[in-house]
Amino acid sequence: MSVWGALAGGAVGTVILTSTLRIAQAAGWTRMDIPLLLGTMFTDNRSRASAIGYVVHFLNGLVFALVYYAIFRAVGHAGWGFGAGLGLVHAMFAGGALVNAILPAVHPRMGTPWSDAEETPILEPPGFLLANYGRRTAVVNIVAHVAYGAIIGGFAIGLS
């Protein structure tokens, strides 16, 4: 089991995850646009926001790969299947808390269920399991994260 393997998996997995979401957008399955959501935390210029968002998302992907690695070490086991399982948990955390609840709470341009007439946010909140961005978003989110987790798990043992 190797930390470099996990990091390499994180890099490849994040590219795959981001591409999966982008393809799903283009196919009309979801309006989920992670780079835009992350980038607009820093700017309201959409082009610049997307560029910043891709960088932030990539770095997040590496950080989460280290978290996966820590879990692999703690349980003494890694692999494609275990990584995919962790990816499923990651997807549920992202849809149920991270993007659904935590991101709107800290995002300066995103609405929350508490936003009232005093506020005029320019980004709608994702909703539980990100369903506000399209009913199939939950499925896309799970598929993308399971792929991400599987790649980290596989790379972690593959490069050891």
Partner: protein, 601 residues
């Protein structure tokens, strides 16, 4: 105030809200409509749709009284004054805004009674009915407060000097007295999928004061000092209550199934956002200087429509989702027996080509205001224009969402032309990819179609559709959205024909022909304001002013308008208050003010 079979007249309601949901309160102090936690959720009070089973929250003197109502100046805080033989009290109703410094209820409605003179005995009656009266409601007293619960939804009552309630057949009731200088407070704290916040009296009073301060501050941002200013400001305040703050979407109205004719079946749910209203909304908000709301709405509809782009769905839920399945609520009797009571809206599946024109127009308005678009959005806009160029020949259901077979509505085609023209203008400014040669070609083809097949020599007017040679008041939008010069012979002829065939005094009907629904309906107030707007654009200022004076006078006692009106009785009909009517009022007033300025110059 008279009720008919337990139903207040639609005209007798006022609206309070917080940017997430809204309550309708009758002149007798009864809250007869409130959806929680959001405007498009199930109603907990729906007495408007069933006077016996719907549920309400009434507060009024126990002795005979006279009532007067007004909003606080430039505010959405409502004041109802009850004058009895022995004294006078003022009831202040508001949905409070969140106080960031304190833990605030998820949603909070406050009712404060202040004694102005003498001594007044009052009674309140709290009868919540979750799920439009379909779900069981449990009333319980715990932690010193009364709770109404069902599943993960809960309401808690905060009561101060407002009597000791007793549960009776699923409702809570209490009597109390307020003397001159005294005050009582009733607070409704709502929660969904989370614990209820039990507010202290001081915190509730502070939020009420804060809310009362907020509204005039917000109104101070309105840049309009032309004629009918009070009506314009009231309309802006109504529109602000229709904005769903968490997303920036704007609902057409906060109610469902208020009938377009008493006893009729034209009862629709309007708690959705229609993209058609986009250009009217953006135009009104930008012209009023409310840029934040305009930009939030623009980005909301660009995001919401992204899944279906370049095809546009005609309406969306306020959270941006597209699931708006229509069904009937069999348990509710309907407003004064008007059935079916529908929630959801089946029109979402229709093809309505005019939507593309209004959306591209609103993008044009946004770019004029802001000056730029990002590259990705620009590419999306160009694809929408491509779609129009490709699909304008298909039949549709038209602006009025007819539920019979589709046809080639003249207004739909003309608005496709408007959309392609705006796309060409956007391309000329370099904000979207330039495929204007193709768009111009289709626009020319559309104009040939409209001018040849959408025109009737005998009527001297554009007509509803080539196979429907009758008048349609939506053709007024051809002048407002500059399909043609408003003073052109063809549009003058069309306006004259609409006045002849569809106008009665200040009232204008949408059309007289078939629409596949059946039954009567009232005159459509938006069309009356469109007529005033068109007069202004045609330079007929005296007629515009005179019509506008009459129309503004039709508002209810607190300045609100419904969708339709019965010309014979003056009764309001349809969902209430209606955003499109208030948008049309704002735009007509500004058009007249602009025309007056131009004429003076």
């Amino acid at each position: 105030m008279q009720r008919t079979d337990g139903y207040a007249a639609i005209r007798d309601y006022a609206l309070v809200g917080d940017g997430r949901t809204a309550a309708l309160i009758a002149r007798d102090g009864s809250i007869d409509w409130l959806c929680l936690p959001d405007v498009d959720c199930e109603a907990v009070f729906s007495r408007m749709l069933d006077s016996e089973r719907g549920g309400s929250f009434q507060l009024e003197p126990t002795v005979p009284y006279e009532v007067e109502r007004c909003y606080q100046r430039d505010s959405n805080v409502l004041e109802t004054t009850f004058a009895t033989a022995d004294g006078t009290v003022r009831l202040t109703d508001a949905m409070t805004l969140t106080d960031d410094g304190r833990l605030s209820p998820f949603r909070e409605l406050v009712r404060k009674v202040e004694g102005l003179s003498g001594r007044v005995p009052l009674r309140w009656s709290f009868e919540p009915r979750f799920g439009y009266g379909e779900r069981e409601t449990t009333l319980q007293r715990r932690a010193g407060r009364w709770f109404a619960t069902n599943g993960t939804d809960a309401l808690a009552l905060g009561l101060w000097n407002a009597g000791e309630p007793e549960p009776l057949n699923g409702l809570l009731q209490a009597e109390f007295e307020v003397s001159e200088g005294g005050a009582a407070l009733v607070e409704l704290s709502a929660a969904s999928e989370q614990p209820v916040v039990l507010a202290a009296r001081g915190d509730t009073e502070r939020r009420l004061e804060r809310t009362a301060r907020f509204w005039p501050e917000w109104t101070g941002r309105i840049e309009y000092d032309g004629p009918w200013r009070d009506a314009v400001v009231r309309s802006a305040l109504v529109l602000k209550l229709l904005v769903f703050a968490p997303s920036g979407a704007i609902v057409a109205a906060p109610t469902a199934s208020l009938p377009e004719w008493i006893g009729g079946g034209r009862n629709w749910d309007y708690r959705f956002t229609w993209l058609r209203d986009a250009s009217w909304t953006l135009d009104a908000l930008i012209r009023l200087g409310l840029d934040d709301e305009a930009h939030a709405f623009f980005w909301w509809f660009m995001h919401a429509s992204r899944i279906t782009q370049p095809r546009l769905q005609i309406l969306y839920k306020v959270d941006g989702s597209t699931h708006t399945k229509e069904h009937d609520l069999e348990n509710l009797a309907g407003y004064r027996g008007s059935k079916p009571v529908r929630v959801g809206n089946g029109a979402a599946d229709q093809v309505q080509l005019d939507v593309y024109g209004t959306v591209l127009e609103s993008i044009w308005l946004y770019v004029q205001d802001v000056g730029h678009l990002d590259g990705e959005t620009g590419r999306d806009v160009a694809k929408i224009a491509d779609y129009v160029a490709e699909h304008w020949k298909q039949p549709d259901s038209g602006i009025w969402e007819v539920r019979k077979k589709t046809t080639h509505f003249t207004q739909s085609k003309a608005l496709c032309w408007v959309g392609l023209e705006r796309a060409c203008s956007l391309a000329e400014r370099g904000v979207i990819p330039d495929r204007s040669e193709r768009w111009r070609e289709s626009a020319d083809e559309i104009r040939r179609f409209v001018d040849a097949k959408g025109w009737d020599d005998e009527l001297g007017s554009y007509v509803r559709a080539p196979d429907m040679p009758e008048l349609d008041a939506s053709l007024l939008t051809l002048a407002i959205l500059s399909y043609d010069q408003p003073e052109s012979d063809r549009l003058r002829g069309t306006v004259a024909a609409i006045e002849r065939e569809l106008r009665t005094g200040p009232y204008v009907y949408r059309y007289r022909g078939e629409d596949g629904v059946g039954g009567d309906e009232g005159a459509f107030l938006t069309c009356s304001f469109w007529l005033a707007d068109t007069f202004a654009r045609q330079g007929r200022l005296d007629e515009a002013r005179s019509l506008m004076d009459e129309l503004v006078g039709l508002a209810n006692d607190v300045g609100l308008f419904s969708e339709e009106i019965d010309p014979a009785s003056g009764d309001f009909l349809g969902n209430f208050p209606q955003g499109l009517t208030h948008l049309a009022l704002v735009n007509a007033a500004i058009s007249i003010a602009d025309a007056e300025r131009e004429q003076a110059a």
